[in-house]
């Protein structure tokens, strides 16, 4: 019957389309990481070098820090590479990770309209945030429990502002990623806190520019953790460990340092810095 032939053809098509990508899958690991590392282009720069040296494919799933850690906790990644030191330490303490290794830091910058309605320019981050709050200048928060969101909340606290209580119509939580937050800020001429890397590679800037930068409080440490092979048997520990070892080796650290956008260095390798 013709119909049977059609069905067989469809089945073959389905099988083919699903089977082909599996062939290229052999020597690979899944790394759950944050949008900042991915969107800034860092992985695009360093992963080919790692692949050339080891032949290991690194598949990066970029999510918010909370979600990225959760992906590791569920065993859906071999390595997590995020920036939220206390959460990372808890991840290891809870037995989901083997060991946390510091890798690098980047910094946050406060972005705002060029005409700076709050007058935050030139101030440190604490004074800048106070100025925004006092003037009720529009501010976009990611509101997605990401590493950047946690950092933002911590900074409000440092500035002595209880944002949960003091937020007004000027403070908008969008519950989305960094790019979406920047797009929203650009469309509404608002202030927004972002990591420098995402900002440098962000194209839809509109009338926005850097308002506050270089404050010690804005530094943002990244750590890398192998997901516990004891918790999750299928974790590819040799490949995952190879990736971690490479990241903190002199060669990996140099690759990170060498990554630049428009001549600007984005990430500062500090695997050997004590307490990082």
């Amino acid at each position: 019957m013709h119909t049977r032939r059609t069905l067989i053809a469809l089945a073959a098509l389905a099988a083919f389309a699903t089977a082909t990508p599996a062939l290229a899958q052999e020597k690979s690991i899944v790394v759950s990481s944050t949008t900042s590392t991915q969107d800034s282009g860092l992985f695009g720069h360093i992963l080919p070098m790692f692949k050339a040296k080891t032949g290991i494919d690194v598949k990066v799933v970029s999510q918010g820090t909370g979600q990225a850690l959760d992906t590791g906790r569920r065993g859906d990644a071999d390595v997590v590479f995020v920036h939220a030191k206390s959460q990372e330490e808890k991840f290891v303490a809870d037995g989901f990770g083997v060991k946390r290794s510091p890798v690098m830091y980047n910094d946050f910058v406060l972005i705002g309209p060029k005409n700076d309605p709050a007058g935050a320019k030139g101030k440190d981050i604490v004074a800048g945030l106070k100025a925004i709050k006092d003037k009720s200048a529009p501010f976009i928060s990611r509101g997605d429990r990401s590493g950047t969101h946690s950092a933002e909340l911590a900074l409000w606290k440092t500035a002595g502002i209880d944002i949960a209580k003091d937020k007004g119509a000027w403070y908008k939580e969008i519950g989305q990623g960094m790019g979406a937050a920047l797009n929203t800020a650009s469309a509404s001429n608002s202030y927004v806190l972002t990591d420098r890397g995402t900002w440098l590679s962000f194209k839809n800037r509109g009338d926005l520019d850097i308002v506050v930068e270089g404050d010690n409080k804005l530094f943002n440490q990244y750590g890398v953790i192998l997901v516990s092979p004891e918790k999750h048997k299928h974790v590819k520990k040799e490949f995952g460990q190879a990736f971690i070892d490479w990241l903190i080796s002199a060669e990996g650290q140099k690759a990170i340092t060498d990554y630049k956008i428009n001549g600007q260095q984005l990430f500062f390798a500090n695997a050997t810095a004590p307490g990082a």
């Binding site: 089945a11 389309a17 990508p21 899958q25 970029s62 569920r74 065993g75 299928h234």
Partner: protein
């Protein structure tokens, strides 16, 4: 606009990364439609040809499932395929197969519901003739599907359109991994989040062009086929 030019250049130069994304999108969506057809067509045929208590309720539910929210399906498949989920040992999360599964779930109700309508219309015409020719259940279903095949193309196209345009489910279960699970739609979402709106729009135009091309092809097949089959 520079972005427009770069998107256009990417297409014109058949940029390998872009081509990879295009092929993956096509492959995943077509495989999902194929899978959904294998599952959905018999369901639609069964509903069209049989009468049983609760059949009307089934049809209402099936029609409602056409509007399944992709994010919910994505999340459900994610939880299912996650290493900590019931099917975790298959190791399918963050692979194109997971994307095919999620999309097939989204597309199956569309194909089943539209196929049921098409087949039921034809069944009303054929019922007596097939009964008089002593054609059994399997023969009835396959005859109806075969004879309605050109009309069923519409159902498959609706399914393909849904799959190709969908982003919510594939980004969750595929992870938008560069060179592995990045499709047209997840690439568009990514470029939008990077603020490269012109490139995102350029990719969107490519996606629309592909969907239009697939539809045109199917339409042509349908017209030619109908001319010969009547």
């Amino acid at each position: 606009m520079p972005g427009d030019a770069s998107a256009l250049q990417l297409v014109l130069s058949a940029d390998p990364a872009l081509m990879g994304i295009v092929w993956l999108s096509l492959g995943v969506s077509l495989a999902a439609v194929g899978l959904a057809t294998i599952v959905g067509l018999p369901i639609g045929a069964l509903l069209a040809l049989t009468r049983f208590p609760g059949r009307n309720a089934c049809i209402v539910v099936l029609n409602a499932l056409m509007g399944l929210p992709p994010v919910v399906v994505g999340l459900a498949v994610y939880l299912l395929l996650s290493r900590s989920g019931p099917l975790g040992s298959w190791g399918l999360l963050f692979t194109p197969k997971a994307m095919v599964i999620a999309q097939a779930i989204l597309v199956t109700p569309i194909i089943a519901a539209l196929a049921r309508q098409t087949l039921e219309d034809l069944w009303v015409e054929y019922r007596d003739e097939l009964a008089a020719m002593n054609v059994g259940p399997v023969g009835r279903i396959s005859t109806l599907i075969w004879d309605a095949r050109f009309s069923l193309v519409t159902a498959l196209l609706a399914g393909f359109g849904r799959a190709a345009a969908e982003v919510g489910a594939v980004i969750i279960v595929g992870g938008n991994i560069d060179g592995f699970t990045r499709t047209m739609t997840t690439a568009i979402a990514l470029e939008t989040s990077k603020g490269d709106l012109p490139l995102a729009i350029g990719l969107g135009i490519v996606l629309i062009a592909i969907v239009v091309a697939v539809n045109a092809l199917a339409w042509g097949v349908r017209r030619t086929g109908e001319r010969f089959a009547g």
